[in-house]
Symmetry: C2
Subunit: 186 residues, 2 copies
């Protein structure tokens, strides 16, 4: 059996259910950061999450209880989609939730867009006609695709160098691979 | 000081950070359900979350450390918006996350709409041109406003009588005040 367990993004984000699953498993895997966040001494680091590695983990799950720790929530631009059907997902606190709590904005007032290692197309930006956007961005994300709009950049949430920068999209730059861009509607 | 703390929606959803905040506080308030979920013996039940009650809690927070427990996540159709600026929000696992984990759908592929005690307007439904919808609904929600579309109803997540019903919007009915309606795009 395989559990894909969200480790959250800040220390102490692990839920009581997740802690029990981790302790009960025969083997725990995870990225270095997820293992550090969850403070699981016995866990094994997965350096890559490519198809070959995941296939081996799924194979192991046929005869042992395996936990795969994922930073944030497995269903937010996460492992859950990649391992769909292969295991049971246990939610964790995502960067989206931390960002919304800092901004004081409700999830039902935004649309969340994944722009990690992919470009945002103009059709996605049309959703600004309806709602604020919350874009999960890396350094390759070019803020100029937004034109001139009020934005808040939330960099390195719960990491060293966390900061929040308010300004206009045509005057700022994304400088961290862990950035969330809040784009104000209208 | 006031902390608005998410209690999650299933037993064991409380995070380690949330548990510490609850234990450290001078006084803990919450809805009956949030207190039961978090298993906080010493907490006081708030029967209503009207402006008068919340004003008293905010007043008390000026000279004591107060935790207000909120089911789910305070930033998902939650207390966080209502108490904006009055306290610090600590995220919890929301019904949206549990629904997405059951469905195997990523947050960045949906738009979340709050239809609890409010009608959904036709403009919001236009977002189906871009994404699947995840509608937080109660028994007053009329599925016929969706026309004929493939839907999944997730009823009573983590409660007695939890069930998942697949079908078409013009053939089903919302029968629980704790229902999430997944509406397939296109």
């Amino acid at each position: 059996m395989i559990w894909i367990v969200g480790a959250g993004i800040c220390r102490g984000h692990l839920t009581e259910r997740a802690r029990k699953l981790i302790e009960r498993a025969d083997v725990d895997y995870g990225s270095r950061r997820a293992i550090e966040l969850a403070e699981v001494a016995k866990a094994r680091v997965l350096e890559r999450f490519d198809d070959g590695t995941l296939r081996k983990v799924v194979e192991e799950g046929r005869h042992r209880d395996v936990v795969v720790l994922s930073t944030g929530d497995p269903m937010v631009a996460g492992l859950g989609r990649k391992l769909k059907g292969a295991g049971v997902v246990e939610p964790g606190i995502s960067s989206v939730q931390v960002a919304l709590s800092r901004l004081g904005v409700d999830l039902t007032d935004v649309v969340v867009i994944d722009a990690h290692a992919r470009a945002v197309d103009s059709r996605e930006l049309e959703m600004l006609n309806y709602r604020h956007l919350l874009i999960l961005a890396d350094r390759k994300f070019d803020l100029r695709c937004l034109g001139r709009r009020k934005v808040v950049l939330l960099e390195n949430l719960c990491m060293d160098g966390e900061r929040m920068i308010e300004g206009y999209s045509d005057e700022l730059e994304v400088k961290s691979d862990y950035t969330i861009v809040f784009v104000e509607r209208g």
